[in-house]
């Protein structure tokens, strides 16, 4: 069966019959038409974005036009599209991007892909010791790893169980506020508050889970979105307890098994006979979030091979069939919500201890959207894909800070492009949880996306 398939692949494709016009030479009229169309779309986009700017002057905000830039931008699109249409798109032997790759490179690339995961792990473990790693890089690493962990946590709910959750940031907030408030009122340390944060977030996961059990698709998305906002607004208005918009400051930093990162006697550096450096705490925080992220990954991978993980995926594929096989879909959904929320809570309490200050502003809907974007771009259910997407998105965000307002434009464009090229995310294939003879990857086209 497999042998015939590859032979078919190798057989030369029959030459498609083409209209005579394309053989006799490029069709200038057609190219011109497509260029005009492209130019019009470009004009529609660039006139409001580049042509009309609001500028702060002495008389307040004034509108300033900038037609030369618009003309340049539209001109580039027009000429570029005309040339592309004439020289590339109308060529009879035109091939897709994927076919340009030499045939022998494909297995090599597949091999490289299997090594990508371990390589990333090694990179993550050794990152703080690179010669050019400074505070900035460490900070960025910590930020990226926080989102990797959040992405992996949400992946349980969205990727495995197929339940669209737009309010995931609520659990992140619950975790962060659990630590901040328990430290503020009860004097809890980070290590004491960490399990509590996870437990409370999981409990809130159940609280969200119960009312939305019967909902699917758009309805589920709206209710989870509302849940995220409710949590944020409660935190904002519960002034005497949470400090409202002022947030909570002075959240204690984590200690290394009771050794605080401070200068002088009794500190971490003093105990180990090192020179004190503020980077030590940063490196510790880096390894802390790395360990938390690995824990999330390990538990998720483990659960996928257990009956509960398979039940989640079965739920994503077909809920009615699950019920007919005696699976309690209520409990299965609730465990997915609770576990996903628990990891969000862990990440939240880490966030609180890293920042030292939290306010409801950090837990707005855009955070939920960002985490969901990481999961969707990475490929729903794929751990490696989520890690890559988090690195690219968060890293890209930070590195392109100087682009200011164009950053969101680039971000949107990148997302559109990825969805065109890889509609099921960067890594769309699914790895089976168990196999009889051979572990074969399952192409994304067969895998269900869940009902909501």
């Amino acid at each position: 069966m497999a042998a015939t398939d590859t032979e078919l692949d190798r057989a030369p494709a029959p030459e498609p019959v083409r209209p005579a016009a394309s053989r006799s030479g490029p069709d200038v009229g057609k190219a011109l038409k497509s260029a005009v169309l492209g130019g019009l779309v470009a004009a529609g986009l660039f006139v409001p974005v580049m042509g009309l700017r609001t500028v702060q002057t002495n008389f307040g905000l004034t509108l300033r036009d900038d037609w030369p830039s618009v003309a340049w931008a539209v001109g580039i699109v027009f000429v570029g599209r005309f040339l592309l249409s004439l020289l590339v798109w109308q060529r009879p032997d035109r091939r897709g991007l994927a076919e340009l790759m030499p045939a022998q490179a494909k297995p090599l690339l597949a091999r490289a892909a299997t090594l990508l995961g371990p390589a990333l792990v090694v990179l993550a473990l050794t990152m703080p010791w690179f010669p050019n790693t400074g505070r900035v890089q460490l900070d960025l690493g910590i930020l990226i790893l926080t989102y990797v962990m959040l992405g992996w946590g949400l992946n349980i709910v969205v990727g495995l169980a197929g339940l669209l959750d737009l309010g995931y940031v609520a659990f992140y907030a619950v975790g962060a506020y659990t630590y901040a408030l328990s430290a503020h009122y009860l004097g809890f340390t980070f290590w004491l508050a960490l399990p509590l944060s996870g437990a409370l977030a999981a409990m809130w996961g159940l609280m969200l889970g119960f009312p939305v059990l019967r909902l699917r698709g758009d309805y589920l998305a709206i209710v989870t979105l509302a849940f995220g906002e409710i949590v944020r607004i409660v935190l904002l208005n519960w002034y005497w307890f949470t400090g409202g918009p002022n947030g909570i400051g002075g959240i204690p930093r984590p200690s290394f098994f009771g050794l605080p990162f401070k200068r002088g006697e009794g500190g971490f550096a003093d105990f180990f006979g090192l020179h004190y450096s503020p980077d030590q705490r940063l490196i510790f925080l880096y390894y802390l979030i790395l360990a938390l992220a690995f824990l999330t990954n390990f538990v998720t991978l483990r659960l996928r091979r257990l009956p509960i993980g398979r039940a989640w995926e079965a739920l994503r594929e077909d809920e009615i069939a699950c019920r007919s096989l005696g699976i309690n879909t209520t409990n299965t959904k609730l465990t997915a919500f609770a576990l996903g929320a628990m990891f969000g809570g862990f990440a939240g309490s880490f966030f609180a201890t890293r920042q030292g200050f939290i306010s409801p502003e950090s837990f707005s809907f855009i955070e939920s959207a960002l985490i969901l974007a990481i999961v969707v771009l990475g490929g729903m259910g794929s751990q490696l894909g989520v890690a890559i997407a988090a690195t690219v998105l968060i890293g890209g965000f930070e590195y392109f800070r100087e682009f200011a307002e164009y950053r969101m434009l680039v971000f949107g464009a990148a997302m559109v492009l990825i969805m065109i090229w890889r509609p099921r995310g960067l890594i769309s294939s699914r790895t089976p949880s168990v196999f009889l003879k051979q572990r074969k990857l399952i192409s994304g086209e067969h895998v269900g996306e869940g009902h909501g």
């Binding site: 538990v299 483990r302 659960l303 257990l306 009956p307 509960i308 398979r310 039940a311 995926e313 079965a314 994503r316 594929e317 077909d318 009615i320 069939a321 699950c322 019920r323 007919s324 096989l325 005696g326 699976i327 309690n328 879909t329 465990t335 699914r430 089976p432 949880s433 168990v434 196999f435 009889l436 003879k437 051979q438 572990r439 074969k440 399952i442 192409s443 067969h446 895998v447 269900g448």
Partner: protein, 301 residues
Amino acid sequence: MAVRDLLLKVENLTMRFGGLLAVDRFSLEARRGDITAVIGPNGAGKTTVFNCITGFYKPTEGRIALAHGGENAFDALQSLTDSGSQHFRTDGEALFLLERMAGHDISRRARVARTFQNIRLFGGMTLLENLLVAQHNPLMLASGYTFLGLFGLPGFRYAEAEAVERARFWLERINLIDRADDPAASLPYGAQRRLEIARAMCTEPVLLCLDEPAAGLNARESSSLNDLLLFIRETQGTSLLLIEHDMSVVMEISDHIVVLDYGKKISDGDPAFVRNDPRVIAAYLGVEDRDVAAVTEEIEA
């Protein structure tokens, strides 16, 4: 042949959707070890009856009782109905009132499995995974509700190996062992039907309900389906209840046929009886206007 024990007793089942009366005071008795077929024209309410038995619908009225074990299990029927609980167990025997149970409990406790008219497989999961999901409840127990399994304790590994062995048995039986590691969605139609039956059998049911298992199969596939169903009855101790349009399947393997039309039972008996029942012929073929009086007379008589 001695009369077999009663397995399933449906009494006065009525299902109403708003103003539509889909099933009207339908009664059915299925015996242990029998293949019972429910037939009838399109829209007669066959699938609704199935959905009531397997817990997908809550019937408007009626009682659905299923027994495990000996011949006296039904003795407790009245006291169970009055007690308001879902099931009644004595050693070796159990009686369930399905209309009171949740959908997943009907499969798990009462051991009723089903397939669907439009096949419902887990398309993105491999054949093997499909069969393992069907063994969710015993595996869940073996994994200590996930907590013990998380640490990879040997007890769970043995249980999983056993589950894989059962899956292998069924994959070999339905001739799909070579495709065990392929996604279920990539199978051809006939193979998907067989896999769905194998998946239902992995729950080790007492009663297997098949909703049009032969739909869309060619003659050869349909005859191998007959073999599979007879094999299930002979070796697994599972009774079958099937909805079917394909008369070659129904007449060949059924022990007992019930005919539904417009939500009402119009005939009930062995294949030979049903085949010659004028009411069935009238329901399936229709009657010429001028023959109505004659047929009505015949039915009355």
